[in-house]
Assembly symmetry: D3
Homo-oligomer: 299 residues x 6
């Protein structure tokens, strides 16, 4: 008898939930045959990029140089296939432009995606060079680091920065949505939230990292070091006539070369922290800091 | 020879570890035939709820309205089965009451659980309406957001808030333990820690979010926005005669409608932040803030 | 035709990426037949340790004492096999010593690893006793905790502290790299970053926990409680003649028994927080705090 | 030292195996972006067809008619997607025609495949009717059968015949390669080898079945029953001028309605076994058998 | 435009397939909360039984006697849980009796199933003794067998006979459907089809085995050996007034002790092959064979 | 109360089953640290060999020659690792020699295994040449074959023969146990049972194949074709003084070049079927057949 009641309740709920009015604005309809963004596939993309950049640390072990070439060849090929599919998904799904992406033929989208995937792969050698400087910075900046191996295998900063550098490259190539998913994956894994739009120089490092936020329009120089809990955020933002925030305005800080920011400092607005300045922990900074200065919390 | 030594060491360790005195208070004994709380099953529960509420964003792609109805039907049915099992697990496992839940017949527990699972499903249409306001608030509150798709797919706040709203509903229905596991899953994924007991109004959003803590007895109005690292905590709590904390006392803040709290602010105790007030970052607030006020860190 | 272009781009990228000059310093070469550190295997190690220490909460359900003995026997055996392999991986991979670990015969490494794995298992009964005090501290310290079951199943502090205590024991036994991977797994899961080198007494608890950082040379007494966002860090560190940080210097705080530190406080340098002192939230502490003192943020 | 030797041997073997002369005629090159036949995907196709045709026996359990409609809707949608991909794979891969299928645009192949997949689905109601007669025949023909449930769940004949009927329909729709893979999957599972080209009437059953072979040009009437080990094969076949077998000639037996063939009988060539005839076990038949006759092995 | 057509075709097919008239007699409706027979779970049951009976050959490796006891304890516990669920599934699903099993309370079915599962486990020591004689017979009977290890690991006869002996025991305990599924699993794996109802003595062996069929009412003595392709079948069977076969009549052969039957022989009907008789290959036997006789095919 | 009884029954069963007397002769004890034969790993071995020999048909798709080289390199490396482990398992487990393999150091076994694995890989180019002739024979011998692709993808004979040729090579290299497991895997998959010890020439094919048995000491020439159900077996075998079969005596048939054997024929003993002879179906042959002869069943 009670089973009857369940069925009634469930049937009523399905009817309400399947009423298209009720999910208006919360549904995504997909043209048949087009791929969906997939967290699993993007996880594999990130793992492949790490395996290509740091051979023998991620992916299969490496025994000699010939073997390494084989593995890089296979990994690049697999990366191209996976990325093509996910870039195509981003182009269909997140396309912010005015055009309705669904009317574009699926095949054309796939070809565009394949070309963008190849562009990304062409940038991997440069990405590897950049990440090598980040590894060096992390190792030099932490007395607790016992080896490069420990830094590459264990340090959350390396994970977050490599996801960011990959996402930033994809954004420059013109891929929507996917870059943000990739940085959010690192955010979830490490607590470090770097917007793919930020511009970050070489030899960048973040110690511990949980709670770090780096906003969309930040510009960060060479050799900068952040500690956990640092926010590089926006102070406020202008609204348009409808009361919506105006998109795309430069509203986050600029950190020049060799700046250090200690834990839980909050730096807000389009201000400049000058070359070599040090920002102490737990403070709230909304004005420019001159080069070489050292500011700390008042007690 | 050395293999001999290993065996001796391991045998001795097993003997000590299997001595029931040694795990007293750290063991959970289960009546035969009753289900256990399962992180895997609860992960599926959360994914199903997301797939039902945001069709086409989570779960399988959606092509037209008829298809959507099929998928919602199947997902609701599967959700009911999984939830029934997990609610039953919560009833047996976490039952904090004086009664020994193990003497209750397994079948009776399963029937109670099935009814509570149906009650939760009956609340899903309401939950969807509430979450629609949260998506809108997140989109409107972030100049970096390029589309609703990006908000629903990528924003950790949406994940944390949807887990919280699901857990809060389960708590209201009288399900022990499971709600807390569900909010801790979001805590681990996003760094946002919302106790299922908190009461939170519509149009709620959290930017970035890592490090946010919202305590058990918080009351949060409509249109509130928090930034990363904000704590809404207890200041201190009375102990009973045995020196144990007294459970269930209102000890967390009340935030009225349209309050904004910036990053790393700590608001403690049963105080009230008045309607439309703004709390600046990195400050420590233990007293009421009047409506419309704006308080910031002293420099 | 365009397929041609892709192939050219990819071929060129593979050539550059497979050039051993390009991955110099970023590659790990493994002697044939030696195991690699594996996140999956270490995840299983941690789950097995939890299942052995908290029978019936993690792993398979427990029905009676005889069953418990069977499961502990099987789990200990499996733990020994997995740990041996991972310790061997740590010895080959992360060996910081001057000797080239690759010239040591694989079999010798495996035997050393098997002995170290047995040593770890011999410490499990002690570890269980210590963790029992941590569970008690978490339950007593949180009015929202409804049962020991809730604490053991849900509290991130228990996960982070049990990983730390396991990693610390492995470090004492002389295992490189693996301890750090284990604490980073907890860091990713909970946002709590405890270096395996820290020394932490019994009855230790962390509330909420996201953003907590505990440095390598910290010494923490009995009954200490930390809130989310607390940093126990280094203030600065001497560089050697080459400008590299000098490793292994005591540079993190000492917290004596019964200290409480509230959310987002930052305590830096080799200072001492005296017995029973309370450090308020969101402050920056770089000098000794006397026993019993209470310091808070200036407003 | 010995590791060196291994590397030399392996390197030499790779060079020889990667020499394109050495795999000439044994390689399949795939145009980029086209799907491959996948045993896993085809296994899912077969499971979905069984779940649609026999609701509640295969796939998820069925509770009431409304639920059944949901599940059939979702299963049909998933079947269409999987079949489209596999039919496309068959069109590219196995296309025996004179045209080079690789020059056809990928998108065109996908659209043809999607239409053929829809055609197959349109035939499923008919297939279900036919299989219902086969289930009835198996139940009526075996005194050991205790229920229709046992027949549908356990009898290898039902598995082999449902794969054959699916494959035969695909062949009629003009799908290359895939039908043969589907019947070979049943062959491997049941030991019953039915060529997808054979024509088989309703109420068909095979008892036990291991070793049964039914050739490409067989024609089998209504109500036929075969036992294990029966071969319906070709006697010999003409060669063309190059000494290759001429393809497509009718060369297998015709069994009229209500024929029974006992175990291990071998019936070869384009002969006719007349209506209602019985062929005894372990015999070798190469000539017509009149209607109603009964032939047995000589002793 | 063509996508439209697909949708129409699929929609029409779903309507027809979801019409409950169309699947009448082909649907299984399940009372809510009752388990389904599961091929995966039964596969695990068989693997556990093999691991318990042949410790160290199947399942985890065995190092010493203490370890063996742990593993057998855990395996027996897991076997009891899995078997209880599957026996309950068999009781609900395949119950051929007059009573409607769905009206019996789910809990009562589960308790009956748990008791039957325990009965089966109580028979395992006897089953092990019996299977030990089968292993010995296979080793002694095959000059190609190099060790007992090879027989236990590789010989399909051991797989088929152990499934049969397990299924036969379940049938004696009164479990419907499940025994037949278990023997069909061996049939699919080995091509050996033994009905669970057959009665087979100790020291039984089958060489190669593909195509062997042993019918429901066979009685086989001690020390019998069969070769591949042997059928022990029914000759014909009486029909009842409705023309359906009468169930349960003794209709298969009796093979006395020490009989040998060579490959592809077909023995039909309730006849007796006397002690020590030898039946040559490829012959058709429908009459008694005296003890000690040797019959072969006429040339 | 009944739960009590279960526990008693299960406890008693565990005691009996864990009594080492009861599993005497049925247990395999493994020295710590040595690998076990693994069906899963051997399945991967077979798939890798197929992927190396038939690039693009098995394993990942192949786009151009450069890609093919990458994949073959990676597959050969992975094959070497997997095979080394499994050969080591075979050496420990199935070692038929007089020496007690367990006293040999694990490392020495691993090195021997690695060398044997390299020897096998060095034979792969020759194996590919041989299998190319088998594919050609299957295609030419079957009018139903529409393409080489169909033969390589679908024909069970190709699966069975490639497993046999791999197993035969391993046997020649001196690997125990593993070859037999590999041919039994094909036996289970195809119903074709070829002993790894048999010697089989080029251009070999088997049509349909279910029930084929080829014994240990068979010698088969070039261009031989068998149909389903053919047995090439032993007639009888001498016993030694203890009544055990004498191992290793030549006791199976010799088939000279170009012999054809039709379905279900049984050929027994060390007889010779002369060059170009044809053996009809369903017959029992125990004497030499002259070259060019054609023998059939008497009617």
């Amino acid at each position: 008898m009670s089973a009857f009641n369940f069925t009634d309740i469930l049937t009523k709920a399905v009817d309400e939930l399947a009423d298209s009015q009720s999910y208006k604005g919360l549904v995504h309809k997909q043209a048949d045959g087009l791929p969906m963004p997939s967290a699993g596939a993007l996880h594999d993309v990130v793992e492949l990029v790490r395996a290509i950049i740091f051979p023998g640390y991620y992916g299969t072990p490496v025994f000699n140089s010939r073997t390494t070439a084989y593995h890089i060849g296979v990994n690049v090929e697999r990366l191209h296939a996976l990325l093509t599919e996910q870039i195509a998904a981003g182009l269909c799904f997140g396309g912010g432009g005015g055009a309705d992406s669904h009317v574009v033929a699926a095949e054309e989208i796939r070809q565009t995606a394949a070309m963008k995937a190849a562009e990304l792969i062409a940038r991997l050698p440069g990405l590897r060079q950049l990440l090598a400087t980040d590894v060096e910075a992390a190792y030099n900046g932490d007395p607790a680091a016992t080896s490069h191996a420990e830094v590459i295998c264990c340090y959350p900063a390396i994970r977050a920065i490599s996801n960011y550098r990959l996402a930033h490259a994809l954004l420059e190539i013109g891929v929507p949505l996917i870059p943000r998913i990739i940085t959010e994956m690192a955010h979830s894994e490490t607590g470090i939230d770097i917007h793919p739009g930020a511009q970050i120089g070489s030899h960048f490092t973040i110690d511990h990292g949980t709670g770090v936020v780096i906003g969309e329009t930040c510009i960060i120089g060479r050799g900068v070091k952040l500690y956990q809990g640092v926010t590089l955020g926006a102070r406020s933002f202008p609204l348009d006539e409808q009361g919506n925030p105006v998109k795309g305005i430069a509203r986050h800080p600029i950190l020049e070369d060799d700046v250090i920011v200690y834990s839980n400092a909050t730096i807000l607005g389009r201000i400049t922290i000058g070359r070599g300045a040090t920002v102490g922990g737990n403070i709230w900074v909304t004005e420019d800091v001159p080069a070489g200065a050292r500011i700390v919390q008042r007690r």
